[in-house]
């Protein structure tokens, strides 16, 4: 299968839909150890992205254009921590497709490690800091291992979603060392990080949109 710009527009539509549904849950998670706005940031950001990419002429733009539009629009709609982190991730995703009019199944899988590196470079967090990076790096590690092992795209995407969810779960036991929650020290243990939770939801909607 090959995935052109239209597929990536549909991908962002799917992400926007899932963020609408998860908004209040993500806000509640952020409220326990943060400032309760993470669901709003993700919902507002991807709703703006959806509007912008829906307006693109898919016949003339490349997948890279779609990602770059999303990055710029997300950043400006959101700000916050999530804005620069996801804007960087989305630009890195777009960069992996530069020069292509469509992506292969393996290209899709390779978006996850690229986005993970973007988040790590921008946020300077490490795995174990109790952030969205725990979700992304868990998913990314699985994708890279399976790519190396020459697995089929569909299997990799399914595994990436599963590993993302496991990464999010792993943040429950962690003590935060980055972001707002870091000031709570030991009080942050026992709750899932909101950014880790939204990352799992995002990866599921993003990769799931191609499987469906």
């Amino acid at each position: 299968m090959e995935y052109g710009s239209q597929s990536f527009v549909a991908m962002f539509d799917a992400i926007a839909r899932t963020m609408d549904e998860n908004r209040d849950h993500l806000c509640a998670l952020d409220g326990v150890i943060g400032d309760a706005d993470h669901g709003i940031a993700m919902q507002q950001g991807f709703s703006a992205v959806k509007q912008a990419v829906d307006a693109l002429d898919v016949a003339t733009v490349t997948p890279t254009d779609v990602f770059n539009t999303a990055a710029r629009v997300f950043l400006n709609a959101v700000g916050a921590s999530s804005g620069p982190l996801y804007a960087t991730a989305l630009m890195r995703a777009g960069a992996t497709l530069r020069g292509k009019t469509a992506a292969s199944g393996h290209d899709l899988a390779a978006l996850v490690p690229a986005m993970t590196r973007g988040i790590a470079d921008r946020g300077k967090a490490a795995p174990g800091d109790k952030t969205m990076l725990d979700t992304w790096s868990s998913s990314s590690a699985r994708v890279e291992a399976m790519l190396d092992a020459g697995a089929e795209p569909a299997a990799i995407l399914a595994a990436a979603i599963e590993a993302a969810e496991a990464g999010a779960q792993s943040t429950i036991a962690m003590e935060a060392r980055m972001g707002r929650a870091a000031r709570l020290g030991a009080r942050s243990v026992g709750n899932m990080d909101a950014g880790a939770a939204s990352a799992a939801v995002l990866i599921k909607a993003m990769l799931g949109s191609f499987v469906a």
């Binding site: 959101v78 916050a80 870091a182 000031r183 009080r187």
Partner: protein
């Protein structure tokens, strides 16, 4: 759970409508940039040869940050969503408006989001040959131990750092001096806050967290987030004593030292309670032989309608005293 009632039209529109309302109310002092409506600029601020000063942060802290734009204080403020750093674009627009050839300083509270967005804007400004220096405020004594001061949050004490830096800019000092003064002011500013109730974001109208009937949060930030500890609600005097103890432990005041004082409401706590607190602060300062040069009492850095308060001591020296005393004329602050 009962939703918090707010006088708004919609959660999505509230920040833009607020900025519009501010520009209408204070059109003699501030304006939003026509092509960047989340960039608020002082009408009588920027001028040739003056270092430009840009502040900013999330909304929901009013009168911080946009209320402190005006002659003698900030030249511009970038306005984010509620409790969310502004993105780089409006910050960059502020930097352009504030830039008059002598460089620009960015001042804001130390939060992951703000640091990333302001740093991106600073990089973009540098590409336009605008020299940017960044000073991040870290006055929240409770938010990290003394050996990790750089990890501390910036909270209500912003006010003093902004005031000193704004006065330095207004005096036409060069950017090195402005940077030195802002860092000096930040290093001499000490805040501790407590929270009695959570606030609710306009989009969800659900309180951020639940607090027991007789509990309070200690070492609270300004985003309605929980504090570093939770404890029983105590009397005003006991709360202030704890705050002053924490502050004195670091400030180590000598008899005869002078401070400026800010007793700040997080929003829902009325003046009556702030002045009761001020009474105890003054008793403690008098006991320690510390003189009070000036006092501000009221909502200066808020978390929407959250109940709670903070006390900030600004440990003065002669230089900072002179800067603090200079006039300033902003939409929500005058000195």
């Amino acid at each position: 759970m009962a939703k918090t009632k707010k006088i708004i039209n919609s959660g999505a529109a509230v920040v833009d409508e607020m900025v519009e309302g501010i520009c209408l109310a204070h059109s003699d002092l501030v304006m939003a940039l026509p092509d960047s409506p989340r960039s608020l600029v002082a009408r009588h601020g920027p001028r040739p040869g003056k270092v430009g000063m840009v502040i900013g942060g999330g909304s929901g802290h009013e009168p911080s940050f946009l209320g402190f734009v005006g002659k003698g204080l900030a030249d511009a403020a970038a306005v984010g969503n509620v409790f969310a750093s502004p993105p780089p674009d409006p910050i960059l627009a502020c930097a352009r408006a504030a830039s008059k050839g002598a460089g620009v300083v960015f001042l804001y509270g130390n939060y992951a989001g703000d640091v990333m967005n302001f740093d991106m804007a600073a990089e973009m400004a540098a590409m336009e040959d605008i020299e940017v220096r960044t000073i991040v405020t870290t006055d929240d004594v409770a938010s990290a131990p003394p050996d990790q001061k750089h990890k501390r949050r910036g909270v209500a004490g912003n006010f003093f750092v902004f005031k000193a830096a704004g006065a330095a800019c207004d005096k036409m000092l060069p950017i090195d001096e402005v940077e030195r003064i802002a860092n000096l002011a930040n290093s001499r500013t000490y805040t501790v806050g407590v929270g009695l109730s959570a606030c609710s974001l306009p989009q969800t109208r659900v309180p951020n967290f639940q607090l027991g009937e007789d509990e309070m949060e200690i070492g609270l930030g300004i985003h309605g987030e929980p504090g570093v500890e939770r404890g029983p609600l105590r009397t005003a005097d006991a709360i202030v004593d704890d705050m002053i103890d924490r502050i004195f432990a670091e400030m180590k005041p000598a008899r005869g030292d002078r401070v400026a004082l800010l007793v700040n409401s997080l929003g829902g706590t009325p003046l009556m309670e702030l002045y009761v607190m001020n009474r105890r602060v003054r008793q403690r300062l008098a006991e320690a032989g510390v003189e009070v040069h000036a006092t501000w009492v009221g909502p200066y850095c808020t978390s929407l309608e959250a109940a709670g308060a903070s006390v900030t001591l600004f440990h003065l020296d002669d230089e900072l005293t002179g800067l603090l005393d200079r006039p300033a004329d902003c939409a929500m602050f005058r000195a």
